[in-house]
């Protein structure tokens, strides 16, 4: 299959009053047509910045320091704003965590969806536009679209708002959808509905998606492949099965073991000791070394490269080096959750 998106050695930094924050460090991954890649990590690990830097929607204080972004084989890293504008909406678009703040409170839902359609079809006739808006609203499961197009975001519940945001994002049939924590602000039952809707639309339209989430349950439901991010780097990437059943990076182990559903009765939950490092002067070696109970001496000195485990599964930990001691992983190896 053709590579839709290829990110090579991407580094993104923010200039702040305290110094340069290296939010994304040397990240590489690729995405195929119609595939869902989940990016998992704790807050501040750079997962949202990664999405926004691909769409070039970062604030002025941020800049791409290094690396390449290839979309459909074309290098868009040095694209100007005008060229990016043509790609946004049609090639890729985005949905956000909080559907309340993602919608303009003073415009009707219908108008905001119409605007997204018009952005790439400025000459569309009024009736065709109305038809398309109604079609999009039906697609995301908002019934009575004609009546509801005239309502304002504050008339809608959280789930309905997120559906509206999805309609906006899908207006110009993008081939790639960035979903930044799309269900975090929603209730569990609504969350499940939105996730299923996302999956359904993605399969119906063949849209590829990058799903950013901190919730491993959400990821398990929706993702084909999973990338685990820590301190601005991808530490492990593989298919969902590989990440959940055969994880290799100690940080992935930690994330999985910290979940209440993985705990054995009566035992305290596993916790990852310590705190993530600041990204102003990230450590020289493996950023996770200080919190890693399996850390080797080399972890503090040298950054581990990506070790290949299978053709789809890679992890950046020295434990996979042939000189490393043999370790029995605390999770994985046919492990099954409750």
């Amino acid at each position: 299959m053709a590579k839709l998106l290829e990110v090579k050695n991407l580094s993104v930094s923010f200039m702040t009053g305290y110094g340069e924050v290296q939010a994304v460090r040397d990240v590489s991954f690729s995405l195929e047509e119609g595939e869902v890649l989940a990016v998992v990590g704790e807050s501040g690990c750079g997962k949202s910045v990664l999405c926004r830097s691909i769409m070039k929607l970062l604030p002025g204080s941020a800049s791409i320091k290094n690396g390449q972004i290839l979309l459909d084989g074309a290098d868009i890293t040095r694209y100007r704003e005008r060229d990016m504008q043509r790609l946004r909406g049609r090639m890729f678009s985005m949905i956000f965590q909080d559907p309340m703040t993602a919608l303009n409170p003073t415009l009707t839902i219908g108008r905001q969806i119409a605007e997204a359609v018009q952005a790439h079809e400025p000459k569309i006739s009024k009736t065709a536009l109305q038809k398309r808006v109604a079609e999009l609203m039906t697609l995301v499961g908002i019934d009575q679209p004609e009546a509801r197009a005239g309502l304002y975001p504050h008339n809608f519940s959280g789930g309905m708002r997120q559906r509206s945001v999805m309609a906006i994002a899908l207006a110009s049939n993008p081939r790639l959808l960035f979903a930044d924590e799309p269900t975090t602000a929603l209730d569990v039952t609504i969350q499940a509905q939105i996730l299923d809707l996302l999956r359904e639309i993605q399969q119906k339209l063949g849209t590829a998606a990058v799903l950013v989430s901190h919730d491993l349950g959400v990821v398990a439901r929706a993702a084909d492949r999973v990338a685990v991010m820590y301190a601005g780097k991808i530490v492990e990437i593989g298919t969902a099965e590989e990440i959940f059943y055969e994880p290799r990076h100690p940080y992935t182990w930690g994330l999985l073991r910290a979940l209440p559903s993985f705990a054995k009765d009566g035992e305290p939950l596993y916790t990852i000791p310590g705190m993530p490092p600041t990204l102003i002067n990230p450590p020289r070696g493996d950023a996770f070394a200080e919190r890693n109970e399996y850390a080797l001496a080399v972890d503090y000195e040298e950054m581990p490269p990506m070790f290949r485990i299978t053709d789809t599964h890679f992890a950046a930990t020295w434990l996979l080096d042939e000189r490393a001691p043999e370790i029995v992983p605390p999770v994985g190896g046919g492990w099954n959750g409750r």
């Binding site: 704790e42 807050s43 959280g158 209730d187 569990v188 039952t189 609504i190 969350q191 499940a192 509905q193 996730l195 299923d196 901190h214 919730d215 491993l216 349950g217 959400v218 990821v219 398990a220 439901r221 993702a223 969902a240 099965e241 959940f244 930690g254 994330l255 999985l256 910290a258 979940l259 209440p260 559903s261 993985f262 705990a263 305290p268 939950l269 596993y270 916790t271 990852i272 705190m275 099954n336 959750g337 409750r338």
Partner: protein
């Protein structure tokens, strides 16, 4: 047996007046007991009224109807409340979801923790307020270096610990935790959950734990009640609730929790709940020992 009950909520109803004509029954005649030393979970989605219950228990809101007995004192009754003011103020403490906004950003951790003691003029067992604050910080797993930090300087997990230390400084019998871990990262959530479990098991604290995350409730709580639109639809020991859910809403809720296991998660169908059978009158019926389920009255 009655001595074992620390908190008893009886037919609690709370209405919010939205406008002249509209009244929202946020909590609609619910009853439950919390026993000494247990963690009682209150589960529900946004708008189910779970936070309203917590606020009524803490006397932040005045219930429209019903009574709340804490240690045998009716906290809704002004006269009884005045007579037992000190006991009520010291023995009940609350922890909020968002410690970024519930802690005063211009007070140090030490000041925040010691403030309730100063307000209640309690002689500190460890000499000074500062020593007491340090002790409480140790208790929640932080060291003395955090005493002079301001909340914005702390990470989310650390801030939540300070909020817990503040609540613990009065050595209360009941801790009401209103979504205390919802805004934290997974690995930090685990730390706070462990802390709660430790406080209950080793020190005998009683918790009213309010959450929307059922996986956490299952791990942490001894008993749990499921709230839907202000009514308790099911109340049971946690193990029983999860292995044998009876009410359709509980089933829908359980089916919606994502399981971090791709094969199982994708194979699992979603149970939908349309709100039927919860429009009118009804009452909780016991299906097995300690397991209550809402039954709609025949019409």
């Amino acid at each position: 047996m009655a001595d074992d009950i620390l908190l008893s909520v009886r037919h609690l109803t709370h209405c919010f007046r939205l406008s002249k004509r509209q009244v929202l029954r946020a909590v609609d005649g619910i009853s439950f007991d919390v026993q000494r030393g247990e963690i009682f979970g209150l589960v529900g989605e946004s708008g189910s009224g779970k936070s309203t219950v917590a606020r009524c228990v803490m006397n932040i809101l005045r219930p429209t109807q019903g009574e709340i007995l804490f240690n045998g004192v009716n906290v809704c009754d002004a006269a009884q409340r005045r007579a037992n003011k000190k006991m009520l103020q010291t023995q009940r403490q609350i922890i909020f979801q968002d410690s970024a906004s519930s802690l005063n950003p211009r007070m140090t951790a030490a000041e925040i923790i010691a403030e309730p003691m100063q307000i209640n003029h309690i002689t500190t067992p460890r000499g000074s307020c500062r020593a007491e604050a340090e002790f409480q910080l140790h208790y929640v797993g932080m060291d003395a270096s955090y005493l002079d930090k301001y909340p914005p300087e702390l990470s989310g997990g650390m801030r939540q610990r300070v909020a817990i230390a503040r609540a613990l400084s009065m050595e209360p019998e009941l801790l009401v935790a209103d979504e205390p871990i919802a805004s934290l990262d997974v690995s930090i959530q685990a730390q706070i959950i462990n802390l709660f479990k430790h406080l209950q098991e080793e020190h005998g604290f009683t918790f009213l734990f309010i959450a929307h995350d059922l996986a956490v409730v299952r791990y942490l709580c001894d008993r749990a009640a499921v709230l839907y639109h202000g009514k308790i639809v099911e109340l049971a020991p946690t193990a029983e609730l999860f292995s044998n859910p009876c009410h359709p809403y509980t089933k829908a809720l359980l089916s919606a929790i994502p399981i971090p296991d791709p094969r199982k998660e994708r194979a699992r169908p979603l149970v939908k709940f349309d709100g039927k059978g919860l429009r009118g009158e009804g009452r909780l019926e016991e299906v097995s020992a300690g397991h209550l389920v809402w039954k709609e009255a025949e019409t």
